[in-house]
Structures are given as structure tokens and as C-alpha cells.
């Protein structure tokens, strides 16, 4: 699978209904200077978004064990009759993970929409 598959040849009749308008990616596929700039900016935006979402996760995963290691008496603290560690790791963390995931998808798709629009504008 090292070599590219042969160029596909499409054999069709005349179109019966109008095909959906799609952006054409010739600029980035052909590695033009403009395409490289656009591609680089998309990559950076997506990476920045990913890192931005991982930071709270890392803080959480690093902070909770450290806090309980430094102050073991926290384990006896109860909120609503439940020890705080159970409340955090048994319950609260799951909605948080879901919300982070949903926020990521929204923003990642926005980045991609912006990219497609820019590309369209660039290709005229």
C-alpha cells in the first residue's frame, strides 16, 4: 500500500439532479504556497484547541491525587454525607468529561467550516 492507487475514472451518464456544491481542494492537494499556508493555519488552530481542552483535564488528574497526598484529612470531608473524593471521582467527573467533549466537537467543526470558507474564497 505504499504506492497511490491508480487515478479513478468515473463513468456516468448526464446528471439527473444538481449535485451538491462542494468546495474544491485543488489548492491544498497540489501543495501550492497558498494551500500550505491555509493547511498550516488549520493544523495550528486544531492543535491549539486540543491542547486548550487537555489542560483542564491534566490539572484535574494531577491536582486531585496531589491535594489528597498533601492533605490526607480531606478524605474525611463530607459533602451531603458523601466523602468528597467519592463525589468527585464517582460522580461529578463524568458530566464534566462529556461537556468538555461536546465543547470540543463544536469548536473543531467551526474551525473546519472557517477553513472550507477560506479555501473557497481563495479559489474563487
Amino acid at each position: 500500500m505504499t504506492q497511490q492507487p491508480p487515478e479513478r475514472v468515473r463513468v456516468t451518464g448526464p446528471p439527473r439532479r444538481p449535485t451538491r456544491r462542494r468546495t474544491r481542494g485543488r489548492e491544498i492537494d497540489d501543495q501550492t504556497a497558498l494551500g500550505a499556508v491555509l493547511m498550516g493555519s488549520l493544523l495550528r488552530a486544531q492543535l491549539r484547541l486540543a491542547v486548550g481542552l487537555l489542560v483542564p483535564l491534566v490539572l484535574l488528574a494531577a491536582g486531585i491525587p496531589l491535594a489528597f497526598h498533601l492533605w490526607p484529612e480531606l478524605a474525611a470531608t463530607e459533602v451531603l454525607l458523601v466523602p468528597v473524593a467519592w463525589l468527585l471521582l464517582g460522580f461529578a467527573v463524568y458530566p464534566l468529561l462529556f461537556l468538555l467533549g461536546a465543547a470540543y466537537v463544536r469548536r473543531a467543526e467551526r474551525n473546519e467550516r472557517d477553513f472550507a470558507e477560506l479555501l473557497e474564497a481563495a479559489e474563487g
Binding site: R22, R24, G25, I64, A85, G90
Partner: protein, 499 residues
Amino acid sequence: MNTAPSIVAVVVVAIATVAIGTWGLRFSRTTSDFFVASRTVRPALNASAIGGEYLSAASFLGIAGLVLTFGADMLWYPVGWTAGYLVLLVLVAAPLRRSGAYTLPDFAEARLGTPLVRSVCSLLVVAIGWLYLVPQFQGAGLTLDAALGAPGWLGSAIVPAVVLVNVLTGGMRSVTFVQAFQYWLKLTALLVPAVILLTVWIDDGATSPARVGADAAAWSLPVADGGGPGLYLTYSLIVATFLGTMGLPHVVVRFYTNPDGRAARRTTVVVLALLGVFYLLPPIYAALGRVYAGDASSDVLVLELPRLMVGGAAGDLLSALVTAGAFAAFLSTSSGLTIAVAGVLSQDAVGRSRLSGVAAFRVSAVIAAVVPCVVAIAAPDLGIARAVGLAFAVAASTFCPLLVLGIWWRGLTDIGAVTGLGVGFLGSSVGVAYAFAPVTSSGWIHALMAQPAAWSVPLAFATMVLVSRATRHRIAPEVNRFMVRLHTPEAVVLDRGDS
């Protein structure tokens, strides 16, 4: 103790699994159907299937037992197994799908352009898959022993047999339906008894599990005890579970069944919700176990708790329900792993013979299931969640750096990748060897060997980066085109080489 309801439950789950698989067969026609369900599975169905496949015996039985025995620091297992999907979502989900490859070895070869990386990845997929399958089969033996009094080898042999019937007849397409069904079965099988047991507990005066026993405060501490080494163990567990999910072969194969990168992301978010709901339940069993079960044997706590708390016929019925769920857990995870391992074996080993695509896949599936089945019967039992944790550590130390660097860094070279995979594998294998070896130690040496992920993962990343830098001339010539394919949204028409 009346075992009839549990026997009926196990038989019903096995028959339902084969029946749904056969029904799914009507949609299975081509080799592509066998491997990746022809990439047409929609997010809601695919997310249920991922949940069904991912929630293994370790989640269903292992977590409750570990939390009962060791306390709140073991809650990091379910948290990490869920957070792993968030890491997967933000770093690899969409690009991995857009790469257009079938398996991890395909991805590695397409990205790095050399067959050597492909062979190394194939070996790793088989190693991780088998490491993960052995505790599933052992757990099946334990379950049938606890629920029905059947000899341990019987369960370890029945599960691979049912899995093979399913995989051999239907492949990936039919397994998708089976696994979606099994997620909901597993959720019901833990949820209904949990609600009933909680009402029993409230009727009994709702004794707080956190105030029972001598070491009450330590039980609510989310860090392993033992000072510095304890803190290290907890961090290492977090690293392995957060980063290991993306490198599990059966998880990765599932992502190729999404129609496109956008669907891959949406599927992952639904998975986060499904896992979050499921993982609320095992800690409830652990907490109730602390009040009612005392020192029950840890891996079968979930199966025995209903009988301990609700006697008589009602207890037997609830027990049958959790047994059914546990059986579904073994079947679904084992199916997914068998398919993933068989996919790699059939492409890279058996497929080199003269067999056709589907025949090679079937021969590979038999090899993929029988080898770990034999090991499961012969090898010592480590505890399900711990053994599965080792598979996560290996995945986090090998495929995680390969995927993250391969997707986000143009500079990764084939030599860098192979060296990093080797270093990560050797490092994480220390944990596997230590777990099986008849030696014990304590303090820092024990911590570093028992949970190697916190040093083996950074070591693998560093090796890949440094060796790639040193072999810069070997950067694949096609890398820019491949990067474009990974990151460009589907709305932009490209030569993706796969559609």
C-alpha cells in the same frame, strides 16, 4: 442457592448473541463488511457498539472488587477509561478516520511509508489483543464458577466458542448489532439490581459505607497509600488509562466503521455519555459491598452481592441478571478483540497464503481466539482489572506516541517510530513480567515495576522525537499530502485514496 435462573440467563445471552449476529449476517456481503462494516455505521448505533465492546469484564466485575478492597484510589480506573475517550477525541478521532486505513498497521504504513513499521505494529496489535483477551476468558471461568458452580475451564472455553461462531458467520457488520445490544444489556443488568439493592440499604438504615471498618478514612482516599510511591502508582495508573484507550486495537478498528471524520467525533461524544452513565454503577456495588459483604472475594462481588443482600428467589433472579450482564461483557469485548487481532493476522500473516479474503479472516479468527483461551486456562489469575490495566500500559507506551506524533508532527520518521515502539514496549513489558514473575518487592522498586506507564510513556515519546530528529533525511516524501488528508474536513473534495 438455586442456580437455574443463572443457567437460563447465560444460555439466553449466548443464544441472543448468535441470533442477532445471524440476523446481521443478512447485511454482510463483502470483505469490507467483514472488516469494517463497509464504513457505514451511524453515530448512535456505533457509540452503543463501542460502549458494548469497551465495557469488558474489568469494568463490569473488576472495578467493584478493586474499589471494595483498596478504596477510592481505584476509582481512577473507570475515570481513566472514560477520560481516555476524551483524549482520543481531541487528538486522534477525526484524523484517524480520515486516514482511510483499516487498522493501526495500515495507518503506520500509510503515514511512514515502510513495511517495517507495519510489521512491528502488527506484532504489537496481537500482543495487546491477547494480553486483553486472557483476563476476559479467565473472568468468564470465574463467573460461571461463582454463579453456577461450573468448573473454571468451562467458562474460559465457552466464551471463545460463542465469539467464534459469531465472528466466523458475520464479521464486523453483524458484531456491530450484537455489541450495541450488549451495551444496553450490561447497563440494565447493573442498573436494575443496583436500584433494588439501594432500596434494601435505605430500609436497613442507610449505614454510610465510608464509616464502616477500621481504615474508614483511608478507604475514601483517592491516592494509593505508601507516601511517594503511592502517589507515583496513582499517577502511573492515570497515565496508562488516559493515554492507553487510543491504542487499543479493538477501539481503533471501531473508528474505521464511521462514515467520516465528523461522524467519528460525534460518535466519541455519545460514547463519553454512555460510559459516564455506566460507570456510576460499579462504585455503588463496591460501597454496598463494604457494608454487607465484608471480605467477599473481589472479582465476584457484583455477582454475589444480590444473594447476600436479598435472599431467596428474588436474590437468585437478580443474581441471574448480573450473571447475564457479565456474560455479555465477556462476549462483546472478546468479539471486538478477536476481530481486531484476526484483521491484522489475516492481512499480514495468513493473508500471505493462497486463501481468499474472507477465508483468511476466518482462519485468523480461530487463531486469535484459541491462543489466549489456552493461556487463560493455564496461566495464573491476576485479577481482571489489573491484568487489563497492563494491556492499557502497553498500548499507552506504544501506539499512543505513534498516533499522536504521526498525526500532529510531520517530522516523525520510520526509524524513530520503530525505535520508540520498541522502547515503549520493553518498558511497559517490565510491568507484565513483574506481574507474572514469582518475585515481590516494596517501596519505589515495586511502584516503578508494577506500574511502568509513568516512565515508559514519556520515554517512548522522547525516543520517537529524538531518533526522528537524528534521521531527518528519512521523513516520508508523501508526508505533506498525507497530513492534508488527515486534517481536511470532508466538505473539501480531495484525492483521499479510499472513497
